[in-house]
Symmetry: C2
Subunit: 212 residues, 2 copies
């Protein structure tokens, strides 16, 4: 099942299955050389995650999203990450502070590269992921982690084209540092507010790209 789930999910996120497209169990099963059973389970799981919409006796289709939906989704993510930062401020442990600092340092190093080679972009993306993941881990809230994991990369298919703008990346770096300081200082409300703003800025940039 896990293989069917992974592959279907990837196909949706990467845009190989287009929004609105019907996902017929038999066809997908043949495509991945599996039987319908694991495909069905994968589709159910994807439905629960919101990547797919399905009606009884009518099957599943790739859920499509308007720009507004996407903005709302980012709003949701912003609240969830803000809550994570809030919790982290009172729960983070020393080794997680170290990990957070290391990830922020990586981000800084990549930013200093003064190049927009694919490799640099990937390094920035990876450092960014580590920063957010560390804060999430420090929040020590399983269900929140689960929800965020599923919410964060839903808009990935729309982000694929997104270019990293230098000013925007520098601003992100600043916010990461401010959030880190608030968390380490044990100030939940500032950590929360800063994280909210940080994610909402990401939303605005994405929306501007899509509209423009």
């Amino acid at each position: 099942m896990t293989t069917a789930y992974t592959q279907i999910r990837q196909a949706i996120v990467e845009g190989r299955y287009e929004p609105g497209q019907r996902l017929i169990e038999q066809r997908i099963a043949e495509e991945f050389a599996l039987s319908r059973t694991p495909v069905r389970e994968a589709l159910r799981r994807l439905e629960a995650e919101g990547l797919v919409r399905s009606e009884p006796n009518r099957g599943a289709v790739v859920r499509d999203m308007t720009t507004d939906d996407l903005a709302d989704l980012y709003g949701l993510r912003a609240r969830l990450e803000a809550y994570a930062a809030e919790l982290a401020a009172s729960r983070i442990e020393p080794h997680q502070v170290e990990e957070l600092d290391a990830a922020i340092a990586d981000f800084d190093r990549a930013l200093a590269e003064q190049s927009d080679a694919l490799e640099v972009t990937r390094a920035i993306t990876e450092a960014n992921r580590r920063i957010h993941a560390t804060i999430l881990a420090a929040a020590r809230h399983d269900r929140l982690g689960q929800l965020l994991e599923r919410t964060v990369d839903v808009p990935l298919s729309f982000q694929a084209f997104r270019q990293f703008d230098r000013g925007e990346t520098e601003r992100s770096h600043l916010f990461h540092q401010l959030i880190r300081d608030a968390i380490v200082a044990g100030d939940p409300s500032r950590a929360s507010a800063l994280m909210l703003e940080h994610v909402l800025q990401g939303r605005d940039v994405l929306v501007a790209h899509l509209d423009g």
Copy 2:
């Protein structure tokens, strides 16, 4: 599938399946006179919702929760509902205001009954549900609605014993009115803050009950 899902879920929420208990597909299938297939799908769905935890080749068990987990879950719910109230403040439509007022009036009527008969308690619970559901609908955010639906009644099995305390119920009524006013006045930040406080008070009451 939908029948298996509903029945298993109910059994867990009502506490008939105890936390930590293994959910063996074959046994459940026999219990509900179904085959394993729909049971499997239901278990996967429940896993996605967080009611059940399952490991590869080892099957599913009813997820157990400590008081701390429960408190965290309520914290999460509080943030989600606060976000819903925030959105509702700028999106609510006239007929939804009417519905909200009607639900609040029902709550008031039930509260005035000066009795703690089961019927009254049920009326209060139902009015409360309608109030929150209306605000959620007014937020017009599908995914948020989906998440909340799944988050709200997870602690139900722990709430089963909970008695409605009069002072606490009156306080809830007051908050409902304040939240309603903030939403109708189009003030998102107050609506959000009030809802957050409202749900967190519910959490504190529940936690006090469980610890005491």
